[in-house]
């Protein structure tokens, strides 16, 4: 069967190229979108997930790191220090900001998630320093290396907001949220720079517990004891952040993935169908010679599967080859290729191949072998 299928396929190289190209384009689109989504998913939650806190404390209803309007009184930190299960309490001031570089165009703004932390505690500060000094001093800021790469910011540059300015003294890693990056200052610098009123207000508190396995129990107890405040684990908080940031992207992504699948299916289906129609007489000859419908279906299936396999290899290869270049060209193009996703795309391609063969097979079933005797 494979012999006939392969011969039929490769005898029409232009059609094969179109068919494989269609599947490859579809696989490429699906692959690149899926890996882009995975890349974003990883980046967006990474900082929150990696910060070694057992519990995140926020205003009730403020469930994510990026868009939360959490406002907590400073004295809550003192209260939390008296909780017997608590080991460390670290206050954070977090605000999304648009900054510009001194000496650069004023209309060129950089989105930053400013994090004010207590350098004496360290929890919630830079995850990993790659250059410069840490902790920052008054009026100083540590930016993420992704922000430095993206906007060409260097140590010594000054970032402006209104009349306030911050001097870059270091670069850290692990704070890239794709469309914004975390930048670190001290709590006092944050309160001054943001002109907080009262300056003691905080956005979050990070807690470490003496027994981290107790975090669910502690969270429930504290939520009951302190109205208007919520306690969440790092994983929960990271998931909420991902949902908030990527939740609007996901439905669009699913639609585009479906369109990509339909494009691949349509091109493969049409080319296999036209190939089957053109070869109707030859399939009739095989029927006359006593080959069963099952054999003929097998030939069409194999053509479809070979097309799908070639398209998958070409599309997956393109994804793997082009993704790093795209990432270099567009910093927001953060991709993560997982073997599970490659397997899923392979399964989708298999489904595409089977569906593409369905209509041609229905046509095959109707071919009357007697017609081959008509001149």
């Amino acid at each position: 069967m494979l012999f006939v299928a392969r011969k039929n396929l490769f005898s029409e190289r232009t059609r094969l190229a179109i068919s494989v190209g269609g599947v490859a384009l579809s696989v490429f689109l699906i692959g690149i979108l899926l890996s882009l989504y995975r890349g974003w998913d990883k980046k967006v939650g990474e900082y929150v997930e990696v910060v070694p806190a057992d519990l995140w404390v926020a205003s009730e209803g403020a469930t994510d790191f990026i868009q939360s309007a959490s406002v907590l009184p400073g004295f809550l930190g003192t209260q939390l220090r008296f909780v017997p299960e608590t080991e460390t309490v670290s206050p954070l001031i977090v605000r999304p900001l648009a900054l510009s570089r001194a000496g650069g165009p004023q209309d060129r703004k950089f989105d930053v998630q400013l994090v004010g932390y207590d350098p004496a505690i360290g929890l919630g500060g830079p995850l990993e320093m790659v250059e410069g000094k840490s902790p920052p001093g008054p009026g100083e800021i540590i930016i993420d290396e992704a922000m430095s790469d993206r906007y060409g910011l260097q140590i010594g540059d000054q970032l402006l907001r209104g009349t306030g300015s911050l001097t870059i003294v270091g670069k850290s890693a692990g704070g890239d949220f794709v469309f914004t990056q975390v930048a670190f200052v001290t709590l006092d610098t944050a309160a001054d720079f943001l002109e907080l009123e009262p300056p003691s207000q905080r956005t979050f508190f990070l807690l470490t517990l003496k027994d981290p396995t107790e975090k669910e129990v502690v969270a429930k107890r504290l939520e009951a004891a302190i109205p208007g405040v919520m306690f969440a684990s790092g994983e929960e908080f990271a998931d909420e952040t991902r949902d908030r940031v990527l939740g609007n992207v996901l439905p669009m992504l699913i639609v585009v993935l479906m369109v990509a699948f339909i494009v691949g299916l349509s091109i493969a289906g049409l080319t296999i169908y036209t190939a089957t129609v053109e070869k109707s007489r030859e399939y009739g000859i095989l029927k006359a010679e006593g080959f069963t419908n099952r054999f003929l279906y097998g030939v069409v299936f194999e053509q479809s599967l070979v097309t799908g396999a070639l398209g998958f290899l070409a599309g997956a290869g393109l994804t793997v080859l082009l993704a790093p270049f795209a990432q270099d060209a567009v910093p927001q193009f953060v991709v993560l290729i997982r073997w599970q996703d490659v397997a899923s795309i392979a399964a989708a391609t298999l489904l595409m191949s089977l569906l593409a063969a369905y209509i041609p097979i229905r046509r095959l079933a109707k071919i009357d072998p007697v017609t081959v005797f008509k001149g």
């Binding site: 012999f3 006939v4 011969k7 039929n8 490769f10 005898s11 007489r281 030859e282 000859i285 095989l286 029927k287 006359a288 010679e289 006593g290 080959f291 069963t292 072998p369 007697v370 081959v372 005797f373 008509k374 001149g375």
Partner: protein, 229 residues
């Protein structure tokens, strides 16, 4: 010499296409037999029912009435699957338009039809190559149909029909696309091979020039076997 045992036997075969007022009777009560090593030529004008007769004899079409036996098996009421199996094992076809698979070489066209599971890969290869060689196509094994002359195509078609070692060979206007000499040569070759390999051969044609290769010639007109010539 033809043997007395009938490989194919049509008894009282009638074929009606359509129904009611639009019904057309293609064959009227036709009876015909062909035995091993016998070449029967069915002649007649266009539209006389020759191809219908051939397709019924080849288990491709069921008669409206009458019975058809192939190698002693009554194929009249067999299922499509069983008929396909009978065709695969016992019937070799030679077509007017050669009907070779365009993507396959001469050798592959023959080997594909020969691959009915009875032979291993090596035997299959040897048989296919041997047949093409004896038909004078040993040097054209890897040629695609579009690279072959019409005469060569028809010889490949004969090799393909012989490849599965069928008891019965059916040829539909096999010389229609060949010039007189080449047509005759090819039919002579078919007759020679059929005799060597003890096949029953039924040829339908309106080419009077090939009548000398047949052991028996019958005349079909308006769906009726008129005379044995």
């Amino acid at each position: 010499m033809p043997s007395s045992e009938a490989i194919v036997s049509l008894q009282g075969v009638t074929k009606v296409y359509g129904s009611g007022e639009t019904a057309v009777t293609a064959l009227h009560d036709v009876s015909l037999e062909a035995g091993s090593g016998e070449v029967v030529l069915v002649m007649g004008p266009s539209g006389s029912g020759k191809t219908t007769l051939l397709t019924i004899a080849g288990a491709l079409l069921k008669p409206t009435r009458g019975t058809v036996q192939l190698c002693g098996l009554n194929v009249t009421e067999m299922s499509e699957t069983r008929l396909a199996s009978i065709r695969r094992e016992k019937v070799g076809f030679i077509y007017q338009n050669f009907n070779l698979l365009e993507a396959l070489t001469a050798f592959e066209n023959v080997r594909l039809v020969a691959s009915n599971g009875a032979l291993d890969r090596e035997a299959l290869r040897n048989r296919s190559m041997g047949l093409l060689d004896t038909l004078g196509l040993g040097h054209r094994l890897n040629a695609l149909p579009k690279q072959l002359s019409d005469g060569e195509k028809q010889r490949v078609a004969i090799a393909r029909a012989l490849a599965k070692d069928p008891a019965l060979m059916l040829a539909d206007e096999p010389t229609a696309n060949l010039d007189a000499k080449r047509g005759h040569d090819v039919m002579e070759l078919l007759r020679q091979k059929a005799l060597e390999m003890d096949k029953a051969v039924v040829i339908v044609s309106h080419d009077y020039r090939i009548r000398d290769i047949a052991d028996r010639v019958v005349w079909l007109e308006d769906g009726r076997l008129r005379t044995e010539l």
